[in-house]
Symmetry: C2
């Protein structure tokens, strides 16, 4: 436990799920948060969060929940960020810093711009690259962000002090904090996260709609289990991500589709060298990335 | 250890890799094999197999290796099965039973037909649905097949005794043994195994060829690691599978591509209900399949 004054006196987490809950746990473990106020729509989940010691108390009205908080973390699905932002504006403390954890940043910045007419200096867009296919506060744990990366996409209007505070907050969870431009963030995430989810969802759905699907799935091997794991992710959350990052995601799907058709053509035309070269390049890239 | 006469007196494994090595280990652990002869092209791997106690001795010439064996297991990549079959024909014992472990069965049966002019009664096509992205005898382990399924695709010409012997052999490894038609096997595997490998290889290759690939991969999250694991599989082995199961694989790629384009169109046209419904169907199917 740190001694003296914690970094955050009163933290308000709106959306106490896997990400919001894990952040609260990590900051508590670091002894760097005074009081944690939870807010959300599901009272069962909020009661569980209190019971688990993740938050001290909760309010279901965002406007009331943010009153007196020095840091507000919006950890709701992307599609719910705009109404939350609207609701909290009137009751934010004058010195409050607000951040979010949305998996796409362009849409969040557009939401903020629409609501405020300009980017307020106290808003720091953020995105922790962490998570599992689980959701809800029961799935949260204090070490979720350890060794992971958190991307912040501060804007020209963002205050340096607000930026530093959110940087420090995420560093306390054991994460590496990196700054990136909004568009670049969305392109990188479309490639490494949004496209893979689309492929996994589509594959499982394709197979589930085959006539002999019961039998098909019975013969799925170990590789399929790992490959399809992300298709167990929260559909509403991923729906929101597709809507929010539409443009860049569609670009990546198009790139992928061209490559898939090129590989299919190589298989069709018995161009064995091309097939082998593709697999070799991919294996080399994957092996360079991970040791497992 | 079983007492009395083991099921197999002399087992010849051609291709002592992950599958061949694990089979030998499992049968040894069950005490159901007398002598195990290894055969392959890589002497380093064969020496390692002797050192690890997976095989008793080895020969690099398949014709010599099968002499006196009552069971011959061909566990080489699909593209190497035909030359092995040709090489061993003259020196097989009159009572030898031959099986293979190829991931596609239509091409193996065609190989056999081409070489023998007809399907010999002692040949039992087989396919254990097990494996990891690792290869080589060092990756082999005795419990690889426990709780897994092994598909046999016996033909009208296959002798009942040969079929029973191979069934019994795989049951001894802890596997569930199932019979299936050749074409049906290849369709099921195209869907659950071959297509996912194609998607994983293509995705990793697509990302690896982006301009900012070094940075792209740096932000890959946990989900990407699992999703892309199968892209670390042996390129030559998967090249062979694509060649061997071309027709059914291309059919599955086409099905998948239509579904991917349909989803992309829903995202493009802001048809949110269709996007959500796809993800929900997929999650339901995946969750029904696995508990993780």
């Amino acid at each position: 436990m740190a001694t003296g004054r914690p970094l955050i006196q009163r933290l308000c987490i709106i959306g106490v799920g896997l990400i919001g809950g894990s952040l609260a746990r990590a900051l508590r473990d670091a002894g760097q948060v005074g009081e944690v106020i939870g807010c959300g729509r599901g009272e069962d989940n909020l009661q569980a969060a209190v019971r688990l010691g993740v938050i001290d108390r909760y309010l279901t009205d965002p406007a009331q929940a943010v009153a007196g908080a020095d840091v507000v973390v919006i950890a709701v699905p992307l599609g719910a960020i705009e109404p939350v932002l609207r609701a909290i504006v009137p009751s934010l403390s004058t010195d409050a810093v607000v951040t979010d954890v949305g998996s796409a940043k362009g849409s969040v910045v557009a939401d903020v711009q629409r609501i405020y007419g300009a980017i307020p200096p106290y808003f720091v867009p953020g995105h922790p690259i962490a998570g599992t296919e689980q959701s809800g506060v029961e799935a949260s744990f204090a070490t979720l962000f350890q060794g992971r990366r958190v991307i912040l996409t501060p804007l020209a209007e963002t205050s340096a002090a607000a930026h530093r505070l959110i940087q420090r907050m995420w560093q306390l969870t054991g994460a590496e904090v990196i700054d990136m431009g909004v568009r670049h963030h969305d392109a990188v995430l479309a490639a490494t996260s949004h496209l893979p989810h689309i492929l996994a969802y589509t594959l499982v759905d394709t197979l589930a709609r085959l006539d002999d699907r019961a039998e098909i799935f019975r013969y799925a091997a170990g590789g399929f289990r790992d490959f399809s794991r992300i298709a167990s992710s929260d559909p509403k959350m991923w729906h929101d991500i597709c809507v929010a990052n539409r443009e860049q995601l569609l670009e990546m799907i198009a790139l992928f589709s061209v490559d898939l058709e090129r590989l299919a053509a190589a298989i069709r035309n018995d161009d064995r060298a091309a097939v082998l070269a593709t697999f070799q390049r991919a294996k080399r890239a994957r092996d360079n990335l991970y040791l497992d």
